[in-house]
Structures are given as C-alpha cells and as structure tokens.
C-alpha cells in the first residue's frame, strides 16, 4: 500500500507526513541539502546580505551612475553627502558615489581573479604534491619558503618588480596566496589517498587522472571552498592596502585604497572621503568572513568556530 492510498481511507497522520517529507528531502541531491542548511545559518545569511550589497554595487555600477568616476568639477569640491551628491565629492569635485561604485567593481574583479587563479593553481599544486609522493617534498619545500615571507611584504616586493597595475596586483596576490591554498588541498588529498574506496579504484585499474579528478578532488572540495571565501576577503583587503600605499592600480583609477590615500590629506575637514570607501571595504570583508564561517560550519563541521 502506498502513502497516497493510506491517506484516502485513514485520517491525516501528521507524524507520517513528516516522515515522508524527510525521506523526500533525503532523496534530494546532497548539494540541495547543503544549500538548505546554509540558508538556515543565520550568520551566513548576514554574510550573503552584506556581500550582496557590494556585488550589486559593483555589477550595476554602470547603471547606478552615469557620471564618470574621473570627471573633475572644480566648482563642486568637497560637497558633503546630499541628495544631489549621494556620497559627496572629493578635492577635485569628483563624485564619490561613482568612484565608490566603480571601486566596488574593481575590488570584485581583483578578488575574484585571485580566487580563480588560486582555485586552479592551488588545487593543481596541492593535488600533485599530495598524490605523487616523489613530488611532495620538493614542491612543499618551495611552498614553505614562499609562505615564510610576510604576506604584504612579498606582495609589495612582487609589485615593485612587476610595476604597479591592476593585473600585477592580481599576479602578486596570487603568488602570495597560492602556496597557502595548495597546502590546504594537499592535506585533504593526503588523507583521502589512503582511504579504502581510493584503494579500490586503484585495484580496479583506474588511472591517476581518473582517481584524482573523480575520486579524490570532489571530496577535497569542502575545505577548498571555505579557504577560497576567506581568500577573497584577504585579497580585497590586501589590494586596498597596496593601493593605499600607492603600490596598486595607478591613480586616478578609482580603487577604494586610492580614494582613501587621496582623501587622507583632507580627512579632518572632509571625513566622508575616507569613511565611505573604508566602510565599503569593511562591509565586503565582513560579508566574506561571515560567508566563510557559514560555509565552514555547514561543509566542514570539524573546523567549526561558532559552536
């Protein structure tokens, strides 16, 4: 007798219905279960909200403002935020609304580029050194050496060598963070490599690439995703630091760090020039940190911080 037959001649049994729901839920793909659990995580929702603001600002920047971020208007210098100038203007009368929005876009581009490069090369390096024991030692020694440098100092030195530009900042931050990502992938691969189902795949005659791609890497994904969400935050913060120091994208490119560096001279009379990009930066980093915490709680419960 099926469940629907039963409901025809018996009164509704709530407990039975709930059980059915649970089974239906369990039949859904594990991905959907994960998404459901993520949305039940309060801090994850906050992270999504905060980072969502920045994504909307960055993606819709061309629609939300029709003023060029570099349009100088000496008659409208140091306007306080008002309906006419939403975020006020700076020492050249440039619209901070426009500059902050375009800055969001640049931060997102740099952050996501660093994340993508890390996902590709960090995974590649980590998987190869975790799986092939012969390569492990030389690759990881190199990794250790790169990780020994203080992050910002290495990024500064690399941009010094390559010259300041958006692409070079992306490259420098990738050089700094890829070893850290590789280390995380490697440690999961080392554990997974020894598990029985992998041994079974080897016994069944699967080749190295099949074992790595189909059996090992999908299971190493959780810690990688968590790492990448925190990495996005570090990259945005590091980029802002570099451009604040004058080592990032060349002014007048509207990056948050550049706006703050230029606004620093006028921070007492016109505090909004530094505060608006500063707060935007904080919202981005906090949003990403909350997303990372949520992902870790759901995907990788062993590393839970919020218990």
């Amino acid at each position: 007798m099926t469940a629907s037959d039963a409901s025809l001649d018996a009164p509704l049994d709530i407990a039975e219905l709930e059980e059915e729901l649970e089974i239906a839920e369990a039949r859904q793909s594990p991905w959907r279960m994960t998404v459901v659990r993520l949305f039940r995580h309060r801090l994850f929702r906050w992270g999504l909200f905060l980072f969502g603001i920045i994504i909307i600002a960055g993606v819709l920047a061309p629609l939300l403002t029709d003023i060029s971020p570099n349009k100088i208007s000496m008659r409208a210098k140091f306007e306080t935020p008002s309906l006419e100038h939403l975020f006020g203007t700076d020492n050249f009368g440039r619209s901070l609304w426009s500059r902050t929005l375009w800055g969001a876009q640049l931060s997102l581009i740099i952050g996501s580029s660093v994340v993508v490069l890390n996902a590709i090369f960090g995974t590649l390096l980590g998987a190869v050194s975790g799986y092939f024991r012969r390569l492990d030692n030389p690759l990881m020694r190199m990794n250790d050496a790169l990780m020994a440098f203080p992050a910002i100092l290495l990024a500064i030195a690399v941009t010094a060598v390559l010259g300041p530009s958006t692409i070079n900042v992306i490259l420098a931050l990738s050089v700094v963070y890829i070893p850290r990502t590789a280390r995380i992938v490697r440690s999961s691969v080392i554990v997974l490599r020894e598990l029985e189902y992998v041994q079974a795949a080897i016994a069944a005659g699967a080749g190295h690439s099949r074992i790595l791609l189909r059996h090992i890497l999908p299971n190493a994904l959780a810690p990688l995703i968590v790492q990448l969400s925190f990495l996005f935050a570090y990259a945005v913060l590091a980029e802002a630091t570099l451009s604040f120091l004058g080592l990032g994208a060349v002014p007048p490119t509207p990056t948050w760090g550049n706006i703050m560096a230029e606004g620093r001279q006028y921070m007492v009379e016109a505090p909004w020039i530094i505060s608006i990009p500063g707060v935007a930066l904080m919202i981005t980093v906090m949003g990403l940190n909350l997303l990372g915490d949520g992902l870790r709680d759901v995907l990788d419960p062993r590393l839970r911080i919020q218990q």
Partner: protein
Amino acid sequence: MTGIIVRRLLGALPVLLLVSLITFGLLRLIPGDPSAVIGGPSATAEQLEQIRINLGLNEPLPMQLVHWYAGLFQGDLGRSLLLGQPVVKATFERLPVTLGLAFYALIITLIVGLLSGIIAALRQNTWIDQLSMMTAMLGISVPNFFLGLLGIIFFAVKLGWLPTGGYVPFSEDPWQWFRSVTMPAISLAMLQMGLLARITRSTMLEVLRQDYIRTARAKGLPGRQVVLKHALANALIPITTIIGIIVSLLISGSVVIEMLFSIPGIGQLLTQAVLNRDYPMVQGGLLLTTVFLVLVNIFVDILYAFLDPRVRYDSK
C-alpha cells in the same frame, strides 16, 4: 630537548636557502633592463652601465648567484641606492622600531584576545559571548589603516589625547614613546585580537567538553581551578602554535601602519624603497625580515615541544 632544537634549526635550512634564492631571483624578474628602470628615462648609456656594474648585473647569472651568497655569508647585502648606506645597517637601524611596535601590539593582542576568548567560551551563548564574538568579527574585518585614520581624527585631532603621528625612541623618553605608538599598536593589533579571540573560544569549548573536565568537576574541584588548571592549561598548547602566524601578520600589518603614522621602521623603509625603485634595499629588507620570522617560528616550535610532552616523545 637539545635534539629537538638542533633538528628544528636544521629543518629550517632548506627553507632559508630557498627564501634567499627567491629573493635573489626577484631582482632578475624585472621585465626588460633593470638598470633602465632604476636610472629612469633621462639616464645616459654610461650611467646605465655604472648602475649595472654597481648591482653586479653585468656579470653572467651564475657569477651573480655566487656573489649573492658570498655576500650573504659575510653579512653584506649591498648598498641602498636611496640612502647610500649598507642594506644590512639600514635594516638593523630600523628593526628595533618595528619590533617595539609589534611587541606592544602582541601584548595587547594576547591580553585582549585570550581574555575575551576565554570569557566568551565560559559564557557560551549569552550576550557576553555574542558581544565579544561580534567585536572579534568586526576586528578581523576592519582594515587596520582605516581604523588608524579614524583614530587620528578622533583621538588626535578632535580630542588631542595622542599625537597624530611621528615617533619618539624609547631610549629618549619612554612616556613619549608610549604615547607615540599606542594608537598605531591598537590599530595594528585589532585583526590579531579578533583572530585570537575566535580561536581561543573554539579551543576552550573543545577542551571544556572533554571527559577529564567532567571528572574534575564531578570530584568537586572549585570551578576556578577547573577552568584555570585543567581547561586553560590544555587549551593554551594549540594556541601557542598560532603565535608565529600572529607575529607574521603583525610585521605585515606594520607596513601600512608605519606609513600612516610616520614611524621609521622596516615597513616604512621598504615602502620608500619600493616607491623609489631602490631594489637592493627591497631585496635585503625582505630577506632579513623573512629570516627573522623563520627564527620566530622555530622558537615557537620549540616552545610547543616544551609545553606538550607528546610532541617530544613523538619526535624521538
């Protein structure tokens, strides 16, 4: 114990070798002709040749490498183009300034981070816990230079409590030193405080769930003794391992903080060097700072082995 110390020191050798090799390679990665970049567009052919001779770039690569290591072993990393003084001397002159600042920030980090983490764990899921974890989240999300800028506006300009920047050496006037580095140290420490509070809280929660804590409580030990002697002592062991990371983050963070508050430390030295294309200084400063951090990490490792007997027995 001596065995562990020797082994850790030897284990660091390959890393140090690679670090010095990477630093050497960095100058050679400059696209095009480094001497043209250093000399600028107005440099004549003779000036460019002179720069090449000064930096040893006219020699074949293997000879450059030999000279680099020969110099390293004699403690000679070349001359700063900007300051005209030896790189090693310039670095060691500025190092105490950065270390003083970092040490001050480390002390604040340890006190505030550990205390708020422990209290949050003991009062789990109360408003105290939520408040301290929200503050920690804020701490790891605020860029340190933004915090510094806000601090200058409020505490220096509006209230006039602290100077807007500048530096007074400790040996000259300890009180003025304290005043000049307090705001930089707090801005610098914020990130690490947040990190440490979060890690302390989760480690403490883990330890507090262990059976031996229940046993200690069950046999009637006073709560304070359970927390301090049984829980905290064991929670501190994994926490020591992140001190190396904290010091590395402090040195990284001091770069922008030193620029912001005009503190003449390593960070300012290196940023000026980068902005003025003073490559030998960048190279040498980066190498010396990294070697220092490697040594800090070895020290932390040894401390860890000293605190946790299991590590000692395992590595025998």
